[in-house]
Symmetry: C2
């Protein structure tokens, strides 16, 4: 395992972790932009733009982009969140240079008016589809209520209205500002030749123009508001709870992840034993999400209408006992084992390793080995988790529910 790094004059960072015993390689661009970098008027542009990158460049049509990926057999994907837009592919080593060249080319898309207008309908269909998924809808609505004006509450997809009124010119402006080389990381992991890939990236990307691409960072303590939305077609109550947490830059993020697992892992957590195993709720999970300059714990619970009161009382009881008595050594040990095995298994594959490599640079400008993260997780103590509980009090939350009309 060997870490390599080069920074171009225009600010683009090229990083790689070479693992000669890997059988495949993975490559990707991490663009530090997402819905939190959007104004209300252009909300949804980051995600829409991610789609547009596959519509072609001055040289390539959408058909040719698709055919080019096809030729390499790459497993490729892209995703947009509140803070990042990521493009990545896993591929056999012999096709890595070709896929690298393709991604680099796609990072300078044509953004043609005709493609923009056609893709608008695809985006609006996607918005409509997700609106029909209560588990997604409740999270998005709760996020907006919790962040209450803070840009981390912006919807990733945008609304039908914001997408309708978005123009191709607004998208091109946003693109120029945010897909600047100094706001991107190019990363590579697995079995590859650093000199070759680095020189392709350096040669092709060095003509990209540096731009001012800042992001306003502000911690958010959350609104702690409570709201319920009725939807006549629902059979179940969907509940989302959110409370503040530490940021992606904070060393306590490992303790926060472990707390999330102890309270709300799919199986074996306090939520599991008190809510799911007792058949009060069908789903009850809690997770910690570290973000840029801020962070949050969020829980999702699904139950029948008649169980809502009992479920919320049980949740209160779980958080009260957490505050009063803290966690146990046994709970922490189990949570560490889960987090450690998920970490190791994910990072064993070049495609998984790439994601951690890219995000560690995006958030920390730091190379961290898997062993660094293993060490940090192992070092967390019961006291660390209990102090975090005390400081952030996850029992004091924003709450949003979606459910059927009440009699």
């Amino acid at each position: 395992m060997e870490f390599k790094k080069k920074k171009l004059a225009n600010g683009l960072v090229i990083i790689g972790e070479v693992n000669k015993s890997a059988k495949s390689a993975a490559v990707g661009f991490f663009v530090k932009t997402g819905s939190r970098d959007e104004s209300k008027q252009i909300n949804g542009v980051s995600h829409f733009l991610e789609h547009m990158l596959f519509k072609g460049t001055e040289r390539l049509s959408a058909f040719e982009v698709s055919a080019a990926f096809d030729r390499t057999g790459a497993q490729f994907n892209a995703s947009t969140s509140e803070e990042n837009t990521v493009f990545y592919a896993g591929v056999l080593p012999e096709y890595l240079a070709e896929v690298t060249g393709l991604w680099i080319e796609l990072m300078r898309p044509a953004l043609r008016d005709a493609d923009f207008n056609i893709e608008k309908d695809v985006i609006k269909e996607e918005i409509a589809m997700y609106k029909d998924l209560p588990s997604f809808d409740v999270m998005e609505k709760c996020r907006s209520l919790h962040f209450d004006g803070h840009p981390c509450g912006n919807s990733v997809l945008g609304s039908e209205e914001s997408i309708d009124s978005l123009t191709a010119e607004q998208m091109r402006d946003y693109f120029r500002g945010r897909y600047a080389p100094n706001n991107m990381v190019f990363a590579c992991a697995g079995n590859f030749d650093w000199e070759q890939i680095c020189s392709i990236a350096a040669e092709c990307c060095s003509k990209w123009q540096e731009q001012a691409a800042a992001r306003k960072l502000e911690h958010c303590r959350g609104s702690k508001k409570r709201q319920r939305v009725e939807k006549t077609n629902l059979a179940r109550e969907h509940i989302c709870l959110m409370s503040p947490g530490v940021s992606a830059q904070d060393a306590r993020r490992f303790a926060a992840s472990l707390l999330g697992v102890i309270i709300g892992d799919d199986v074996g957590s306090r939520f599991f034993w008190e809510l799911v195993d007792k058949a009060l709720a069908e789903v009850a999970t809690m997770q910690f999400e570290a973000m840029d300059g801020t962070g949050a714990f969020y829980s999702y619970i699904r139950c029948s209408a008649e169980n809502v009161t009992k479920v919320l009382d049980t949740v209160s009881g779980i958080f009260q006992s957490l505050s009063k008595d803290g966690i146990t050594e046994d709970e922490l040990r189990k949570a560490k084992n889960k987090v450690l095995s998920a970490l190791v298994i994910k990072n064993e594959l070049p495609m998984g390793r790439l994601i951690d490599l890219g995000f560690n640079w995006t958030y920390l400008e730091q190379y961290r080995t898997v062993e660094d993260d293993i060490g940090a997780i192992k070092a967390v103590t019961v006291n660390d988790v209990n102090e975090l509980t005390e400081q952030f009090n996850p029992g004091d939350f924003t709450q949003l529910s979606i459910g059927p009309a009440q009699e």
Copy 2:
């Protein structure tokens, strides 16, 4: 990479592929039993039994099983198909012995009446849930129509009626016959100590009783029937096509997989360019499935009611031109790249490697390295694929559609 094998006196095969450079290990049981081994009366028992294995043993309650997995941090899962029931886990090497011991213990479940009766409702909910998914429902109905009495057409979940009338005693009988050591493979992959794991398995499993556990193998050419089912609540037409193919034991299975990719991969296939890219269908895929002694190609297409005729005409055209002109060198090259990168990436992770290791033994009683499979895929010629097309004529299919009422 080192392959190890031991066969116990009772017929249990223990295999392992040691990879000292892996960071995790995976372990699992491959039980050669599924819905095709069921009679009509007990249809669904294999899948129900898979659930029951987590309900505990004479020594462990369901709570203790869950807590035991939890302690190790293992990522574990189980699945049931027409031919196999598989239990597996990925874990850090230091917990492998513990997880191995746990799986071995679970393979001799208590099958308590009380647990059986509670779990029955869970199974019935699962059946109801899948009935609501037209993409699943259409495949299951088409499979039954295509196999037309051949046991490979049996539903994995069973019906509400078959599950309702199933007794715990019938399940215990089925268990005794099918979970016999001579009908199971124990496999391990990744970073582990063969001597240690093999001796745990040998010691604990050697008391299991050998049984007569045969399976009737018969190739099936398919009914080629055509049927349409109306469902008033649907907005879309769901179409499934099935045609016969080679078996898991047939060397031509690699050519058959490549043919599936050429005709029906998600992107870049003939279905993709003719149906999806032209916006005639929203989804159009074809896959090859190799089974024990038989095999099938199956396609799934989703489109609007008004496009059905055009879609089916286009499908006919695709198969006609395939029969007439065969595939091209370029199509085969692209398909190989896709299949090879998916194979290599999957097998890079011990959990993925375990699956191929276990199934190769289950179907072939053969150890195949990843390189063996790579070589077999690379060796397929245009002529191999065209001969397969000629012999099996995928354009001559069984067809089942589910869609809205026609005016």
